[in-house]
Each structure stands twice: as structure tokens, then as C-alpha cells.
Symmetry: C2
Subunit: 226 residues, 2 copies
Amino acid sequence: MQISPAMEDYLMAIYRSQTVAERVSTSQIARRLGVSAASTTAMFKRLAEEALVEYHEYTGASLTAKGEGLAASLVRRHRLAERFLTDVLGIGLDQVDPMADRMEHALPPEVIDRFDSILQEPHTCPHGQPIPDKDGVLPDLHYSPLASLAAGEEATIARLEEGDPELLRYLVEQGLVPGARIRVVEKHPVDDLITLDLGGTSLVVGQRVVAALDVGDVPAPRTPRL
Amino acid sequence: MQISPAMEDYLMAIYRSQTVAERVSTSQIARRLGVSAASTTAMFKRLAEEALVEYHEYTGASLTAKGEGLAASLVRRHRLAERFLTDVLGIGLDQVDPMADRMEHALPPEVIDRFDSILQEPHTCPHGQPIPDKDGVLPDLHYSPLASLAAGEEATIARLEEGDPELLRYLVEQGLVPGARIRVVEKHPVDDLITLDLGGTSLVVGQRVVAALDVGDVPAPRTPRL
DNA sequence: AGTGTATGTTAGTCTGGACTAAAATTATGC
DNA sequence: GCATAATTTTAGTCCAGACTAACATACACT
């Protein structure tokens, strides 16, 4: 059978929800995709028929090797599309995720390959999420959470969580994007907030909003070669 | 109501079939889209409900002003996508039409606008078909059919018919693409064939296969500005 | 261990877009 | 001008993918 766009959406959602071969629940995926739990159950069954997931009633599903390979290539496609949108077309970081959601199902493999080489084989999307390589292997990026930094420490922003579009728009507006250099001014353990200095301006954010990278390997956009 | 991808396909097909406000028949569109006549009838009705076409039973449909405007923007999107695929990604002329068919429904307006400016507002697709401008107005390109040339005359290829993928592949392989300079060696009126000289090699083609341009305005690919 | 709440699944429905087969209409050939 | 051919429309079906409402299971707490 053919893999439909809907099946691709579910596969990606499972891939992104599942940490090291854990089962993923119906409601988790339903929430992530904005879909009813009943629809998710139905799709879990279809995916199980295709041997893309292993599904056990009432206890969730996990990707098979086949499913994981496919999902990795779909995530790769999505993240390369995002990189292309920002780096080549100059579209804002806060706009590319929904655009890539729309576009990804329609991008032929040849186009993805061209994106990859034009962008010089990037290993992160513009938000800092890792891009699986052609064999589905994720680069390991050893980021530290912002919460792990002590007051006074400096770091380079490496990744933003993609969950909340509203929040993302705000962070981009404030300049808190991958590559930005920050310094921790103060930590507020009680309410889980943290005060940052960002090139002179000061900013208060949640400790889980961004991930910091404390080594020199900044995933900044490179100039595409054409 | 929303315009679905299927509706877009039908609108484009009608737009491309209809010469100056003529009615277009059910079977014409069915053939073009590879779909049954019954499906086309059903869609004509849906489009009529949206005031995108004027539909009269048994005698066909024609685009309304609203439908024509929308169709023009869809054709624009398709042809700009093709130009992008050839000029920026370096994909072969004979492969881009089906790719653009897949991609077009998923390309947001912002992306189309970026394509347009990166490509420096091209007025033809890579096959030489005109690209409507933002107001839906087609550039008039005054090409002469190949059949109109006499033996000995020279011309620049301006357009290829997109109908037959197999034929298109062959022509591209032979180098008979927009921008190529040719000379008519001999005309065979009986079997409707014509012998061309193409930079030293000789080639026999049908008289309606390509359109020739006898002025200097060659729609060659330009270097994209980035 | 039993019971209440969370979460999951089943059953039944809807919609868009395709199909085939049969009926209706228009076009064509003699 | 009428019979037949071609085209178009209708009627009925199917499938994917969503939904809601009702039922089933699992988990958590006393």
C-alpha cells in the first residue's frame, strides 16, 4: 500500500514524541496533531498493518525499524525544507514550521537532495532541532538546558522549542534565536524563571523555553552555495 | 467555502483548455486530468456553486471573472515553481511539470512571491509557456508556429508543447529546448514533418511539436539573484 | 482489593472525490 | 429527418480520514 500524507503526519508525530523506543500513547499523538483520540486509534491500526508501528491495545504504539527509518526521512524532509525557507528564501523563523507542514508532503526526493547540497548538508533546522542524515541517523548535539547555567555564565542559544507559535514569534522578535549570545543575569528557582542579558537588553524567560549550547558549535545559517 | 486541491486542478485545466472565453466540455477536462466524465460533471457543479464557472448542462462550462482570476494565479504558481525547479535547483526540463503538479497545491503565497523575485520576474515557464502577472494578465508573446518557416530560415526555439512527457524527454535529449537556435533544412508537407539543423546535427520533427520565435526576445533562463 | 477517573476503543456518521453502469441528451451519417 | 453513435448526466458505490457518543479498560487511591 501507499503511504498517505495523513500516515506521514502520524509517523512524524510518533517519531518526535517517542524518546528511545518508548511506547507512545493515543492521546499524546491526538493532542500533537489536533485530532480526536478515535482517529488516532484508527490510524495506529493502519500503521500496524503496514508494519510501521507495533501496536498494543490500550497501551500505545512504538515504531518498528521500518517505521523509524521512514519517519526519520520524513523529519529530515521537514527540517531541510525549513532550512531552505529561512536560508534561501529569507522567510522568518517563526513562520517556517507551518509552511513546511504544508509543503513537506509534496516535495519529491530530488528536491530534498538539492536542498541538502545547496544548504551544504546542514545538521540542524533553523530552530536548532537535529536533521537526520540520509540513513536516518541523528547527529548528537549535546546541548545543555538553560536551567543548568549558573548566574553569570555565558552561552550561545542553540535551540528553541517549537511547541507554541505565539511564544516563538515573541522570542524571534526579541532576538532570542539560535546563534544569539546570552548571559545569565539571575535565576528565580521558585517560579522557574531566568533573567538573561542579550546584547545589552534584558529578558525574562522560562527555564525550559530555550536550550543553550555551551560549546563553540553554533548551528548558524550558512550562505547557501548555488 | 474553501478551494480544495482537486478544485484547483480542475480550474487550471479549464483555464488552459479554454481559448478566449469558449465553453469547455466535460470530456475535454476529464481527458486532461485523467479522470472520468462523471467526476468532471460533479466538479463542474461544485465550481458553479462557488461562482467560479458558468455551467450549462450538456454544453460545457466557462470560467467566470472570479474563476479566471483564481485560475490565472494558480497557473502562475505552477509555472513559477517550474522555473524555480530548473533555474535554482537545476532539475531537468522534462521532469519539472509533474513535480510542479505535486508541489503547487502546497506552496504558500509568500514562497511564490520569493520565487518571483529571486528569478527576476520571469514571464515564461521553462517550456516557454507564459506566466500570468500578479493581476492575472498574460504577457503576449507573438510566437510563430514552426510550420510557418520556409526552408532555409533560421529561428530560436521559444516553446515546447507540454502534452507528451515521452516526447518532451526526447526533445530535451536532442537539445531542442527553448533558446536553441535552429535552421529549417527541408519541409515535407505531405506527412507534416520538417527537417531541422540544430548546431550541426539534423533532426526530423512534426510541425506542431515546437513553436519558433523569430524575434530576438528569447525566454532563456536567467541567473537567479540571491 | 474495589471503585472512580483517565484514557482508549468501538460503532456509527459525514464529506470529498473518485469510480462504474445505466439513462438522457446531443451530434452525425445516410 | 431519423437512426445510431458519441457525449453527458444520474444513480449508486467505495475509500480515506475525520468526527461524536457510547462502551471498555487501566491506573491510582483509599
